[in-house]
Every structure is written in C-alpha cells, then in structure tokens.
Symmetry: D3
Subunit: 317 residues, 6 copies
Amino acid sequence: MSSPRFPNIRVLSAELEGWGFFLCTQKDVRHGRGGELFISVSLQDRTGLVRARIFNEAARLREEFDSGDFVKVQGRTELFNSRLQLVIENIRRVNPDQDRGQGFREEDCVLSAPRPVEEMWKELDELILHVRDPFVRELLQRITAKHVEKLRIWPAALTVHHAYRSGFLEHILSVARSALTLGAAYGANQDLLTAGALLHDIGKLEELEYDRSTSYTREGNLVGHVTLGVMMARATMAAIPDFPDVLRAQIEHLIVSHHGHKEFGAPVEPMTIEAMILSAADDLDAKINQVKQVLAEDAEGEFTAYHSRLGRVLWRG
Amino acid sequence: MSSPRFPNIRVLSAELEGWGFFLCTQKDVRHGRGGELFISVSLQDRTGLVRARIFNEAARLREEFDSGDFVKVQGRTELFNSRLQLVIENIRRVNPDQDRGQGFREEDCVLSAPRPVEEMWKELDELILHVRDPFVRELLQRITAKHVEKLRIWPAALTVHHAYRSGFLEHILSVARSALTLGAAYGANQDLLTAGALLHDIGKLEELEYDRSTSYTREGNLVGHVTLGVMMARATMAAIPDFPDVLRAQIEHLIVSHHGHKEFGAPVEPMTIEAMILSAADDLDAKINQVKQVLAEDAEGEFTAYHSRLGRVLWRG
Amino acid sequence: MSSPRFPNIRVLSAELEGWGFFLCTQKDVRHGRGGELFISVSLQDRTGLVRARIFNEAARLREEFDSGDFVKVQGRTELFNSRLQLVIENIRRVNPDQDRGQGFREEDCVLSAPRPVEEMWKELDELILHVRDPFVRELLQRITAKHVEKLRIWPAALTVHHAYRSGFLEHILSVARSALTLGAAYGANQDLLTAGALLHDIGKLEELEYDRSTSYTREGNLVGHVTLGVMMARATMAAIPDFPDVLRAQIEHLIVSHHGHKEFGAPVEPMTIEAMILSAADDLDAKINQVKQVLAEDAEGEFTAYHSRLGRVLWRG
Amino acid sequence: MSSPRFPNIRVLSAELEGWGFFLCTQKDVRHGRGGELFISVSLQDRTGLVRARIFNEAARLREEFDSGDFVKVQGRTELFNSRLQLVIENIRRVNPDQDRGQGFREEDCVLSAPRPVEEMWKELDELILHVRDPFVRELLQRITAKHVEKLRIWPAALTVHHAYRSGFLEHILSVARSALTLGAAYGANQDLLTAGALLHDIGKLEELEYDRSTSYTREGNLVGHVTLGVMMARATMAAIPDFPDVLRAQIEHLIVSHHGHKEFGAPVEPMTIEAMILSAADDLDAKINQVKQVLAEDAEGEFTAYHSRLGRVLWRG
Amino acid sequence: MSSPRFPNIRVLSAELEGWGFFLCTQKDVRHGRGGELFISVSLQDRTGLVRARIFNEAARLREEFDSGDFVKVQGRTELFNSRLQLVIENIRRVNPDQDRGQGFREEDCVLSAPRPVEEMWKELDELILHVRDPFVRELLQRITAKHVEKLRIWPAALTVHHAYRSGFLEHILSVARSALTLGAAYGANQDLLTAGALLHDIGKLEELEYDRSTSYTREGNLVGHVTLGVMMARATMAAIPDFPDVLRAQIEHLIVSHHGHKEFGAPVEPMTIEAMILSAADDLDAKINQVKQVLAEDAEGEFTAYHSRLGRVLWRG
Amino acid sequence: MSSPRFPNIRVLSAELEGWGFFLCTQKDVRHGRGGELFISVSLQDRTGLVRARIFNEAARLREEFDSGDFVKVQGRTELFNSRLQLVIENIRRVNPDQDRGQGFREEDCVLSAPRPVEEMWKELDELILHVRDPFVRELLQRITAKHVEKLRIWPAALTVHHAYRSGFLEHILSVARSALTLGAAYGANQDLLTAGALLHDIGKLEELEYDRSTSYTREGNLVGHVTLGVMMARATMAAIPDFPDVLRAQIEHLIVSHHGHKEFGAPVEPMTIEAMILSAADDLDAKINQVKQVLAEDAEGEFTAYHSRLGRVLWRG
C-alpha cells in the first residue's frame, strides 16, 4: 500500500488511487448475471458517504469484513452514472492497536457535525448559565447532567437533517441562537426560549438508538419523541422542589407544540409568542441544514437537481 | 304557581304554561332598541337545553338569579323563528332545603348521559375483572380507584360528543364494547383493547374542568389530553412493580395514536391491529353520538338540516 | 427429480433444493449485458408469491411454458438482495392427467383466502337466513343465487386487500360480522347491515375479471364498482314484487356511500347510523387485511419496513 | 291601489311606492323586543328575490296569505343596511280568475331563466337531430320524450347555479354548445359530447323536487344525481334493441365522471377526451352562471364584495 | 361638555362619562323594530376601535357627521353583550381651526403603529447605510426616496396584521431585524436580506389605497402585491447603470417567493437560504403582530377566546 | 449500409434492420457487471424518442459522437422488457454537407409539433388581424414581432405538455381557438381573450432555454414564467402611447391568474369571465395534449397503463 492516503470523502474526486480508513455501513454480496460474485459496499468518514464495489477477489475479501466494521481500504475512484464510486482492490477490518500508528481514529470514520464537540458543549454551558430563572436553570442543568453522553454524540434525526454524530447538539444550539435573537426583538421570555430550544427534541435521546449508525427504538416508533420529551421534562421538573406549576405548563407547551401544526402531528399548536418563535426557529434550522447538505452533495451547476423532500431545485446563488 | 310542572326539555312543546327547576347556564342583560330592558337566558335539565327570555319585570328579576344557579322558573313556551323558546314570567334561585319538597334534585337539572351512573359503573368493574393479564388489570384498577369521582361525572368533551354529565363514562364503555367485539373477530389482544378503551381519553380528566358546566384547564389547553393521558398512564404503571416494558409501550401507543391520523394531531399513527381497532371504535362512537343528538334536536322532517361539523344532512330513516 | 417437494411458499426458506407445482404469473425473456439469455419468472401457490430466475438452458426452457400456465418446477432457493429467489433448473407445463398422480391440484397453485370456501359459503347462507325482513332476505337470496360462481372465487381487489381467490367472500363475511356486532351495540337495523355488508362491493363482480389472475373490465374502469353495484342491486329489487321504496333507497344509500368521504370518490356520504357503521367496518377490514399481509411478508425484526400505502412502519407486537 | 305597478325585481330601486304580483317564498311571524308583532317575508318574480317586512296591521295581514302563495302586495321600497327592502302596507292571496284581468300570470312570479322556454326547446330538438349515430339519437329522443314536463321547467340546482325555473334546460344547452365547439377543435366524438351534455345532470330530474320552490327528494339525498343519472340512462339504453355495449359504457362514463375529480365525489375520473371536455364545459358554465348572478345582485362599485363560495371578489371589468 | 376627556380607546373602560375626538369609520342609520330611529357608529383613535350607538335625537344628529369625518363626541361607555360600547349623547364634525385649541390632532384619531414614525424612519436610513453592496444600496435609496410619503404612513395590510397607519414601515423594519440576526447565524448574504426585508411587500404601496381607511386598488385586486412588487423593483434596477443581472435575479426571487409555499399563491418557492430566512421572518412577524393585537383586544382571562384566523386560543402566559 | 432507412420513430416496430438520422439526446458510457463496456443512448426524430444501446465495438464507437450531436445510425430494433430498443451496430456524427445528399435535414431530427410552422404562423397573424381594439392589436403585433424567432420554435414546457419544437405556438393557437368559441357563447370580450391566449405563457420565452433540448433559465427558475410574462407585457404596453390603464390591468390580470387556483401558485385567481375562460381553455389544452401523447406512446390494449401525473388510466375508446 504505497499509494497515498485518500482525502476526506467530501472532497474526494474521480480517478484517484489510494487507501484510507472508513466505517463500513453496508455490505451486500451479490451475483452478477454472468454468475460472477461481487460486493456492494457503503463507506463513511466524518465528512460524508461514498459508494464502493468489490469486483476482484470478492470470494476472498467477503470474509475480511462486515457491515458495522471500521475498515482499511485500498483502491481507486471512478465515476459511474455520473456519481463517484470507489473500486476496492483490498479491504480488511481495522486492528485498532496496530492501525492507530497509521493515523486511524474512530471519530474520523463516523459522519459528524462540522464543529468540535468541546466547543459546542462550552456554548451549551454558557447558554444555561445565562438563564436567570433559577428553576429553569436547575432544570436544564439536571437534564444535561443526566444525559451528558448522549447529548455529546447523538444525531438530530435518522435521515432528514443533522443526521450525523453530534448533530443533536449542533441543532439545539443553532435553534437557541435563532430563538434568542428573535425573542429579543419581540420582547419574549428568554429563559423560556432557552429551555424550549434545548428541550424541544429531548425525546429524541430516547426515540433514537445511535452507535455509529442510527435507528428508532421501540419507544421511538410507538410513542414518538414529542411525547417522550414531555415526559422526560416533567419527570425532571417533578424532582425539583417547588417547581412552579405555571412554569412547568409553559415548558411542556413549548415541547408539545414545537412541530407547529396539527397536520404535522403536533398535539397542540403554539399558543404563546415563545412557542411560535421556537417552532419557526426549529423549522428554519432543519430546512437550512438540509439545504447545506444538498448543496454540498450536488456539486455541479448553478441549480441543484430537483430535491423531492423539499419539492424544488435549489440555487447555489 | 298553580300551573302544571313542565315535562323534560327533550319533550317540551310550544304553547305550554307551567313551572320547573333548571340550571341557568347563561344570563345576558340587554337593552332593546327602544331602550327597554330584557334578559336572555339559557336553561338546562338532564335531557336538554332551552332558550328563554325575560321581557316583563326584567329590572326586578335580574336580581333574583345568576348564571350557574339552579332556578325555579314559571312561564310559557312559544316558537320563535321555528325554535322553541321559554318566556319567563317569574324566576328565582332554588332554595335547596325548601324546594326539595317540591321535587327539586340537582342531578335532574344537569344535562346527563341517558344511562344511570350506577349501572355504567358496574359495567366498568366487570370489564376490568375480565382482564386476564394481571398487570393490565392492576393498572386499570389503580387508575379507576384514583379517579372515581371524576370518572363518574365527567363529560367526554366540551361540545362535540357526549358533552354532558357522565358522558366520559358512557363513551369509554361504548368504545370498549365495540373494540372488544371487533377484537374478537380479528384475534386481537382483548386485554390491550380493554386498556385502550378505558384509558385512551383519560387525559380528559385533566384537560377539562367540570362543575355543572365544562371548560378547559390550563394544562388542557397547553398540553392536551393525548399527552396528559400518556403521562397519567405511565405514572401509574411506573408505580406497579415489575410492569413489563413492552406492555407499557403497547399501552402508551394505544393512547398516543388514538386520533388515528397525523392530520388530526396524532403524534404517531396506529402501528398495531389493536391500535387500529381502538381508533376506529373511538371515531365511530363519537360520530354516532353526534348523530343521535342531531336527530333528537332536529325533530322534524325526513332529513335534518345541514349539519356543518358533519358536513351533511342526516336521514331519520 | 428425486429431491423433496418444496413446502408452501409462505414458509419457504433459502438454500433448499426441491420441486413443486405452481402457477406462473409472469415470464420475461431477457438478455444480460454479456448477451446471455435468461428468464425472469413469477410463481404462485395458494399461500404466496415467489420470484424465480432461469439462467441455465434458458433457450430450451423458454419453449416449455408460458405466463398463465400451471408448471412443474425443479430448482433451489437462495437470497438475492435479502429477498428469496428460486433458481430454476427445470420447468415444464403441467399435464393435469399425469401430474394429478403426483399431487397436483389447481386450487393449490392459486393464491387463496386462508379459510375453505365451503365453510365461508355456509356462513353466508346462515347470515341470509337470519335476516328477518322478507324483502331483504329475498334480495340477498336472489343476488347470491345469481352470482354463485363469482361469489365463491372472486378476489376483493386487484392489489390492495384480499387480492386472492375467494377474497371477496372472505371480506364481505368479515365486514358483516363486524357491522352486526357494532350494529347490536348501537341499536341499528341489523337486516340493513347484513344487506350492506353483503352488497357494498357487489359491483366488483363486474368491475373485476378474474381467472387465476385479476384485471379490470371495461365497465370496471369506466363506471366503477360503486355505481355498478347500485345498478345490480336496483335491478334485482325491481324484479321483487312490492319491494318497498324506502327500503330500496336505504340499501342503495348503503352501497353508494360506503367509501365514506367525498375525497375518496363517494358520491354521497353516510347519512344514517347503518351507513356509518358499514363504512367503518369496511375500512377497518381492508386495513387489517393489509396489515396481516405485510406482517406475513416482512418476516424479520420487531418493526416492518416502511409501508408506503399505509404510510408507516408496523409493529409485530 | 292607485299607485303604479312595481317594475321587475331585478330593476327595482329604493323609495318607490307601488303594487305587484309575487310568489311568497317565506313567511315568518315574529315579536319585536317591545312585544309588537311583525312579519318577515320573501317575495319573488321571474327576475329576482326581494326581502319584505310587514309592520302595520301585522295581526290582521298574517291571515291573508301563506308561504307558497301567489300574492298581491302594496307598499314602498327602502334601503335597510344597504340592501333593498319592501315595506308592505297591504297583502292578500292572488285570486287567479279575478287578478288575471290586472295582468297576473303565474310564470311572471317565479324566478326563471332569461331565455324563453320555447326557444330553448327548439334548440334542444335541433341538437338531437344533428346526432349522426342512430343509437345515440334514439336514446336522446326517448329520454327527452319521457321527461318533457320536467325538462322544460326544472332548475339545475337548489342554490348554486341556474337555480330557477328552466335553469336545467338553460344549463345543458349551454354545456352542449361549449362542448361541441371544443370537441370540434380537438377532433372529439360530437355525438358523445351531445349525449354527455344533455344527460350528465339527468339524475337531477329525480334528485330535485320542484314546484315553484326547489328541494331534495329522498333519493336525491340518499343516492345523488350522478348515480341516479347513470341508472336512468342505462334503463333507457337497455330498452333500445341492439344498443352497442361499448357505446353504453362510453355514455355511462360521461355521466359518472362529469364532476371531474375524486375530491368532488366523482366515482371515476375522466378517462377520455370527451369526458375531459364535458367536465370542463360543465364546470365553466356553472361558474360563469354564478358570476353573472353575483354581478347582477351586487350592483355597485368596480369590484363586488367577497363571495365566499367562489372565494374571491369579482371584477365588473 | 364639562365632563372629562376620555382616555385612549385601548384603555377605555365601562361606566365612564366624557368627551373625545375620533375618526368615524362607519355610520349606519337604522330603524328599530318599534320604528324608532337609531344610528350605529364606529369610532377610532390611534390606539384602537370602539363601537358606538346614538339612541337620543338620532334624527337631528344624523345630519351632524358622516363616515370618514373626524368628530367630537360626548357620551358614556357601557358593556353590551360583554363588549364595550359608547352611547353617544352628542356628536359633530370637527372644526379643525377651532378644535385644535382643545387638543385635536388628526394623527391622534387614526389607528397607528405604536412607534413614532421619525424613529422608525431613522432606523430605515441606517439599515440602508449599512448595506455594503453599492448596487443594493442605490436600489434601496432610490425606492425609498421615490415612495417617501407612502412608506411613512401606509399600513401593511387591509385587516390581517399591522393594519394601521405606518404599519408597513413597522413591519418591514421588524422583518429586517429578524432576518439580519438569522442571516448572521447562518452566514447568509446580509445585503440581500436587507433588500428582501425592505422590498418584499413593496407592491403593497400600489396594492392598497390608504387615506385614513384602507382599501384595495384596481391593480391590487387584479395583479396583486407580489407581482406589482417585482415590477417596481425591476423598474428601479433597470434605471441603475450596470446593475448586475445575477443580483437582479436574486432580489426578484426574494420578492416573488416570500409567501413561501405554492399553496399560498407563491409563484415560486424559496430556492436560497436568504429566501428561506426572509419568508420565515415575514411569516413570524405577521403572526406575532396578530397575537399582540388579539391579546390587547381580548383583555380578560388566562386564555383568549378562539381566534378563527389563527385557529386556536392564545395564552396570556 | 445497404439496409433500408428506418421509418419515423412513432411508427417504428421491432425486428427491423436499417439506418437513419437522429438527434442524440443522451449518451452514457457504462461497464457491465462482467466488466464489458456498453453505451446507453437516446435518439430522437420529429415524431418521437427511442432508447438505444451499443454493445459491439463500444470502445471505438464512443469516440464517434456525443450527446447533442446529430448522428447517422445503423442497427436493428428489438423489444426489451416490452419496450422498443434500438441495438446500434454503427454510429457517427452527421456531416451536414455530405449527408444532406442522403436526405438529412435538421428539422426532421428534432421532436416537433405535428402542424407545419408556416401554417401555424399564418393562423397567428390572422388572429391578431381580427382584434378590433387598436391597442390590443398593437400590443400583440409588437410582442410577436419582437419574439419571432422564439415564437416559431419554442416548446410550451420542459416535459409536461407540448414539450417539443414549436409546441409553444401550437399551444397558444389551440387555447385561442377554444377561448374564442367559449367567449362567443358567453358574450365575453374577444379581444381580451385573444390577448390572453397569446400572452398567458409569454414568460416561457424567458423561462426556458431551447436549442434542440430544453432547460430552465436562471430567471425561469428564480422568477417563473407567470411573473416574467406580466413584466414582458407591461414593458411592451408602456411603450405604446396612450395605452389605457384599465386595459393594461385587464391583460395583466389574464396573465397573472391563468393558473386558476392559489394552490397551483397563482398569485391571484380569475376575477372576470374572460380570465375564467382562459384558465379553463389552457388547462384543458394541456391535459388533452398529454392524453394524446400517452395514447400515442402506450400503443396496446383498450386501456393505457396507469399514468402517474394524470393519476388514472386512459381509455382508447
């Protein structure tokens, strides 16, 4: 393997030879129509995903790795139907002890938020410190303390937006920033907005299962993150002595109404200025995150291809 | 007051003179265009509502009662714009001690379910006794024990269906009967269906405030009965030792999905046969209750007038 | 062909060798990219469908059978892209006389309702005998007598629900059971409900063409089963002396309104309690039949894959 | 009654005294808030409707007429809340024999299509004579012959469009003219378009009851004009020897699909160019008839008031 | 008129006697059922609207003023059906010269934005000065210079939001503040956001006619403010030498897409992050302005009455 | 190449050998699973599109042509998965000078409207000459004069309807014919209808880019043809001295409202009879053009396959 190491997937181009460390997120062994064996593979690093194929020595290489493994890969890139594809010449499971010497780091192989976690965590701490109402501050401190592990690494969704390591944290911080500036303009209660931004999706920590890849938990499917989130918040508030009833109702309302419209499955619709601001900030942040992903993945031309979830083409400006 | 006592409101006709005991649910003092004072009143007994007016001695009679009072009324009925109206000649607050001798009973003056409460309560008990799963049975016994008072008298809604005393109990029993026979036909889990029928609207005990008349509580407005109901059920299940996780998720799913469709604000949609049966039984029971009310109130002709919530006329058959 | 006979398709697993009798419902002769001939085939027995491929001797075997034939097949099963596939080594048309000795029966090779037809037919007879109104009973007897053949074997739909031999009969009996128990609870007219359940889809006997496989007739496409059904019912009622006008209108209303909502193409919406019950029972039965099919076909995991027509994942419970 | 006769209602203005013959379509006896009796009345002639009130001698005049009577009225017009109102000084039932001498004619007192019936009927005859296909021509001749009476006087709807005497005939002729010119442009089958235009609403002859005023029949409510119309057409076609099956299906399709979209309760949607043209011509004619009525009734200003069924204001141009 | 001057309408309470200057926005002369004349009036000052009635000397007072006049009014306030009403004892047209001595000022009698115009205008100037792109700055300077008069006093809508003097200016500044802070968070082009905020509704200057009261212009009805706005912007840009094509397209896109969704009549949907931010900021500002008005007008209780445009009750918090 | 020349694509059948001139609209070089190179190609002539494949000598032939070239092709036709496919044996770029001798003409190789352009242009001229209002006539003459080139060759849309050379001209003439006959029936302003038909889509001349194939321009995506069209019309009208304001508003209203409903992105809805007629004629013409294409492409059976945009199957009649 004397060829150079591949750059990050987001900047990978065609007609390169090289090697790299990746997370394998899919492995399908197939037979071609002529009967020959080949393997269809998906690889991931912190910046993106790439499709790969094994045509040579597929029978031997199929034993060398499984879906879910970190892998070391050697091969070359090409365009297939206008999309980038990596043709794998060699592949094997990572041996962490040995490969760390060559620069292997788990966190470099998992799709991740662009900002460093430590920096985001510090911003979260400061947001909470700026809360004036002692009950709200206590609530936020208890919830973040209880879920430190998940809060640092959870994605914000399975596929739609911020669907990568630490995407949850990135999303709630971004919503908080937007909601607080809007709230300042409209004279809204900033403590409530901070609570709403940090807690509106808190149920996703129970709705989703995340360990390199993301899936729904049983409760996630059956109960959904909105209801799970209200219950998590209520349980924590119930444990704080003298937590005021009105304040509790306000915070629960922010969570339960944050999808904004009945048609989107919101059990109640926003009835306060704070709930309206939170819902708008959440919706906008999710949309802009999608736009940025689409623009990054669809790299050519003044306009992107038609995006079916957004229902339009996007303009690179 | 030598005239006869009025019959029940549901069978009251025009051109009668008489007296009766009622609950006054609305009292508006107005001035006619000629400046004369008159009072617009709504009266209720266990069978229905009637509009009333005070034209004579309005200045004196306005002091004799308020909205929310039980009242003794003397007057005559007439048709006004094709609707029945009671013209009040005399009215005063009920004096319970004195008027009981004349047959005054509070429960006769409040709009109520047609079936006696005791009979319905016995049916509820038997439904719970037939539950085989000990955890489900325990859950239902605890919840009914905790909310005996409200379960006996609460209405099922503010205005749409079963909007009268003990309407809640009437509705959940009716849904249970339907769901259990449907469940038998489709081989569904009957214990889950009993739990779903009895608990699907349980949040309404916190969503609504009821004391002769019905209103929304703060939590009812801000959080809504679906989410409140899941929290009530979870709190009770959490207190039962060894309550199985899967069972808890099943019961929470029944509550959270019972509105059937995202467009109706259901945070999740039915994912099991039991949840589909429950949602269908609930929807049908609410609709048929409305139909029966419309047919009772709109007493003439083969077809009723156009009913805007149902979006159609109804046929008396 | 000394290998064992395959089990029913519903319980077929990968990596088996064997032989079996099937109905061939699709046959596509193709060329691979290397130019080699292969044949894509769909096979069916009473319990399900399986995809098959012929790679060896395709040029010779293509002459041995056609789409629509009952066939004898020898081969082995395998997984292809996680779905079961049968690789055919040998295939030929069934020779009924000769193959009956080996256990060939036509009815075992056509996708069918799980309950035996005779048992269902007996239930239908009894339902009609229990009708009290002599006109309704006469109507149902005449219609069933006239359409005996189709009523026994027709499917209930092309693809959505009960889309197999005798699915029509299975569906109307199931709707009748549900409607009658619901009707008993709500004091509805049971004779009308029986008529509605048995007749609501009667137009499908003219809408669909069924002979092993299902298609739309010209009238089915152009007029639709709702209108065709009303016409069939009216023609039969017109031939019964003194059939009451009101009764005829009631029965026609049940048929014409059974899709429940204008948005679903119902020319009128249910205006009676019977029509509401029928529409709810029909909708629920169609949904539950779909759910049972999805759960049977999607055999792994606690939750099924996302089902696009139902718009959700399903829970195995 | 020496004052002048009122002009037609459509050109009636305020501040006139006079007398006239009208149809009374509504009569409500009420008490004012001061207890005084007054009568609210609606009057109609062939050109429009006007609201009327009786303040003087209401007790005596209430005995002189009923809703549904042709009446002779004396009074004066005024504006009330910017709308024209007739204050009645004297009113009595028409005595046909005696009043004919003063110019009373029934047909002048019933809201009617602007074109004379004879002229429209002649146009209908010619349309049918121009049909080339003998089966279609026979069908149209039989149906028009059978329903001569209703075809001449029926309205096209209860309230929405062409809701006046002979409105049905006016509407189908107008649809025919549009459909035929469109059909000529697109090379469509003109005989089918003539049949579709004349028959698409034929079920309304059974859906509506008309005798000076319009109401729904039982069958109209329960079955609806689309399905009734298909049955009327089929019954007539069945009686014509050798009527071709395909032709029958085409004509039934035109009727059953003419509402154009499932959302509007069309059991099937247009599948042929003829059905698309018919549906467009029908929709446009209904809309333009509404527009012309709104412009006629809302006589002031460049734009009309907001019209809730059309969902917009209209421009007088 | 020795009674005290009324306070501002927004803080007016029942059971006061006094006098004040107002704009009369509606005057309807009616007859009561007893025949007596009375006048229904709407009055306005810079803080709100109040309903008024004239019962005494209506015949004389009807000559003293017209709708559209500034008036001096003497009377007393009362509650009628729970809403405040002013019973007028005396009323006459304002005589500006004479009444100015008593404190009459036109601008105090017209419903107005709460912030002083001069302060808002200064903010507008600064926003434009902060634009870095010289073409955008030039565009904004030219458009504001051209429309100084209207920009200072126009309302933002006929009824929905900011429907008062200078409401347009208040709205675009508020949208600009929100859009710029959101834009900063998402790295959007701030110059474009400033242009979008100031120009998105510019067509309303031609869509609406405003002179104390607001109405639609002919072009407003027929063409609509979205299209009018694009044309105004394009005309101004066309007059600026070398205005870049791409920049022009960006600005036109911001205007044409600002309603956000096709369903709301947006000819195109936002295709850039800037357009998404602008649309969200505009929607939120309109909603919050409505909420504030509702809360101000519906002054009692924890929750407001149901608000039909917003489709919910609001919480005072 | 001694084989015969292929017939037009619309009438091409399977199992033919031959040669022809085409436009190549797509060229994808791929590798099969066995590694072999093949080329996927789309070919076009004036009557339709056909899919083609190069299996032999792909490595050499890939150099012989590109997407966008006119090509000379030799090969044979076959069915693949029931669709026609051309297997190319030889292919090269057209050499215009040399190939014209063999009958090559550019216009025969580009998908085109069935009517000759000259004939359509003459019809356009006559339509304009029949306009009575001199301003309208002047407007139409100026606009057609300015856009002669595009008006003759532009398609009416990217994919939906009239998506071929001169489809724009074909569409506006067809809409004009329909609108004028409908307008005659309803007494509408024929000059306005002519203007509306010819100008309603005029913005498409700037929305689309067409040079053998069609794409959206930047302005097309960002501003859309409705708004672009109004601006083009206004600019032309502004240059005509004394063009009446009302007339200009009428014409702009026709363009801006022609999509008929807010839900389809129409900024305003039709407010005049002319606008309603135009919108109906436009919608019908687009639909019928689609139907004709579907019927032409889906050549077998009484009914077509399900068409997802139209949401139905179509009947060949």
